[in-house]
Symmetry: C2
Subunit: 507 residues, 2 copies
């Protein structure tokens, strides 16, 4: 096996996924009021499937049959009125209320607070709120319920020739409400890619009432209310629906994979592209290790996947200029690259297509490694360009050192997921040998080394994975104390009893 | 005089600006502590010049020698430590503290709360905090003090080949801190034009400490702290400096003025352009009346000024496609329009140039009308495209009706200042005969009719002029009650005694 050879280890045999009969859950401590009973479930399978998100730690705990701290009840509202009623119950009874979208959190964002902190825990699964309520083709916007998952949403927009064009890696398993609550970053590398930019208005259920914002293309009336709830991770309220900005489905596409002698040369090209005003839809740089894993390179060169798309116009001119930029920075551009194609599949061939497929399959590969007792995890950040070179060197050194110390071996690779005129979002993948009985402790030590370095060298603890419980120690230090007080006060105004997702983001 | 003929009135003779000797100010009620005396002034000229902003109402009150409610003291800090000391004094003594940038507020954002509400009022003029502290040419960003005015800022960036590229109409008379505190809208019509998008990090002095955010190209760690302070209008703290995102100074430019038979046809073209992904730098539509006033049309046709600029690449391809869009919507494109020019003055010729000059001179023209006892004022809003036609018809009808009723005559014209994929920002200008003794009452009645209609038809009370005191009645209704509670709680956490700009934005 290729990766075993690169790691210089034997890959152990695979652990097996738990069967529900093997899982022991504590008995539910609470029962819903009669009026809500039809919306609630407390069977073991439902509770077990809402115990964790999808982080490395979650997969390890799941494989270990550790379901010691599940929600007592899983509520599944079908309407906004149901959400109000369920939250009223939680607020009145002092129960922790955890908004649950797709459950794809990788930061402990949907798990119960420590046992004993609350008399009961209710996971509120928004999955039945999955309608596209209204489409406005003139303004290109739609009113969408928060529980809809990515593929279903796109299926409903497609007949109208529209798309949200927001494709996080978790696309299949995550919901609109979850994207907004975590300030999700889309697949696209530049310009409008964060979900924040796409929110026209919101409805949020809080224990003290519904916050509804006005549908507007822009406003200068006070601080943006939508931006207070974007990234609030369920601690201020439960997002039930949003008017979202859409786009016409692209029909023109062009894409190329450009090789660079090393990551630094590729990074210089990405900076030039991000500052050019060309706004490529794709501009992802893979270091030699990532390029090899993705099947998009030889393992000796960095590969930049650059692409444009449009529903309106040919893309030959911007692509020609982008490839010129790449050549100026030492990039090797394939013969004949960069012609605009008009078929839907245009972007799915060659190295660019291989990378795209690998990107979508990555989470499955991760789980397979974890099941073999290995450490397979990612972390991500953002940094301004002036600090990037030292930052990347420092992070790589710290993590490589930790891998040697903790696991005796391991590799760390890097790609850029998003590029900005003033900086970049590097995304690191760690793969190392471990053993089922020490996977979590090993990873905790490596994560600690990584996170401390991110913070010390000027980065952020998260560019798009959110804070949850897992990033709290570093978020608390990254965030200004004054802003923490303001945010905490806003929470207490909306959620005076502190029932909403306690322990996540703020206290 | 052309406008007199259009209004069917005699334009009265001009009132004269007050001399400071003619102005009677109440005696200052407070004196600064000795340690701050050197930073403070209470002479009549300084106090009078900090009494008002630059709204119609302010000009009328100034011409009437009404300076009954000035600040007691004007403090002029030279450092952030000075700001801390001055705010400590205000907080300790319970004095109203009004952050003052360029004083170009048109919404009562820099005037004292009603006399008697506080034992004293201190206007804190940030004008001496005007340095560009640090420039990062790699990330294209600069650390800039909040009090710098537009022209001085651009003068300091020019030698580095960089620009903030933020040109609100008040550019000459307004400051970076003021732009951020009011979510200023720049001159550019699409894409990155609001100041919010350009803020990389902030430092804000509050009565309970300094809030400093981390310099990052993007982050997903909780709600954005910068967005809480953007648009906070001085009620949460005093912005002392910011890292701002810059751009290379454009060297390629192309611009054209396209005529349309009417405003609706022009609006359809603007929507197509805003949804095209072409991202024109300029995309301003003038109705026939505005085009005439700006010297950019005959008064019978609407005129769209469309332009592109870049520091990186030729613009022939996007401009050709933009002009094709215009033709598709019935636009009359001048012969030979749309060639990329490389000289700095390229955008300053012809109808586009005439409009630009008129745009910059408009505030002076306004003051001349006001001095003649007329009503000359603007209001602005934003609305989604699906509602635009009914909205514009309703607003025009309501304001025209109010003008007839109140003044017996008057005109209302409209232009688009900013265009979005999902909507547009219409900007209305009102000109009507009145008399010095009833100018304010007349305008209040017209403004009431306009604002009620904006709100009823789904718009916002302000797209980029901010809320201040003047827009409070409508902002309080536009804003969700839950968000008001959250924002009020955040304010009390940062400013427990409520000394910061009391009465503006929230209570």
């Amino acid at each position: 096996m290729l990766l075993a050879a690169r790691l210089g280890i034997d890959v152990p045999t695979r652990g097996t996924a738990p069967r529900i009969e093997d899982v022991v859950l504590p008995a539910p401590r609470i029962a819903p009021p009669a009026a809500l009973a039809a919306l609630c479930a407390d069977d073991p399978l439902t509770r077990a499937s809402h115990t964790y998100g999808k982080s490395f730690r979650d997969v390890v705990r799941g494989l270990a049959r550790d379901f010691a701290n599940p929600p007592d009840v899983v509520a599944r509202p079908a309407t906004e009125a149901d959400v109000v009623a369920i939250l009223d119950w939680c607020d009145g009874a002092g129960l922790a209320a955890i908004p649950y979208g797709g459950g794809s959190s990788v930061v402990g964002g949907v798990e119960a607070p420590p046992a004993g902190a609350f008399p009961g825990v209710v996971s509120i699964d928004l999955g039945a709120l999955d309608r596209v309520v209204e489409i406005d083709p003139v303004s290109r916007a739609a009113r969408i319920e928060a529980g809809v998952f990515g593929p279903a949403l796109e299926d409903r927009l497609r007949p109208h020739g529209l798309t949200l064009r927001h494709f996080p890696q978790s696309f299949e398993f995550s919901s609109l409400g979850g994207w907004i609550a975590t300030r999700s970053g889309g697949h696209y590398a530049t310009l409008i890619t964060h979900i924040d930019e796409l929110v026209e208005s919101l409805r949020v259920v809080t224990p003290t009432g519904i916050v509804a914002t006005r549908r507007l293309p822009a406003s200068g009336a006070g601080p943006s209310p939508e931006r207070l709830f974007s990234g609030s991770e369920g601690v201020l309220g439960i997002i039930t629906e949003a008017w979202m900005r859409l786009q016409a489905r692209p029909t023109f596409r062009t894409s190329a994979a450009v090789a660079f002698a090393d990551f630094a040369a590729g990074a210089a090209a990405v900076r030039a592209l991000a500052q050019s005003g060309l706004h490529p839809a794709n501009c992802r740089l893979l270091d030699p290790g990532e390029a090899l894993t993705a099947g998009a390179g030889t393992g000796t060169e960095a590969v930049l996947v650059v692409g444009f798309e449009s529903a309106d116009h040919e893309l030959d001119a911007p692509m020609a200029r982008a490839l010129e930029c790449c050549r100026d920075h030492g990039g090797r551009v394939p013969e004949g690259a960069g012609r605009t194609r008009r078929d839907e599949e245009g972007a799915r061939d060659g190295a660019a297509g291989a990378w795209r497929q690998a990107f979508l399959e990555m989470p499955y590969v991760r789980d397979a490694f974890v099941a073999r007792g290995m450490i397979s995890e990612t972390f991500e950040t953002a940094i301004t360009w002036d600090r990037f070179a030292d930052f990347h060197a420092g992070v790589t050194e710290a993590v490589t050192g930790a891998l040697q110390r903790v696991c005796g071996a391991g590799i760390v690779t890097c790609r850029f997921t998003h590029a900005y005129p003033d900086g970049v979002a590097p995304y690191y993948t760690v793969l190392a040998p471990s053993r089922p009985d020490r996977q979590l402790a090993d990873w905790a030590e490596i994560k600690q080394a990584a996170a401390e370095t991110l913070l010390a060298l000027g980065g952020t603890i998260t560019h798009h994975h959110a804070v949850g419980r897992d990033h709290r120690p570093w978020y608390d230090r990254e965030r200004s104390e004054g802003f923490a007080r303001a945010l905490g006060a806003a929470k207490r105004a909306l959620d005076p009893r502190g029932v909403l997702n306690p322990g996540v983001l703020i206290d």
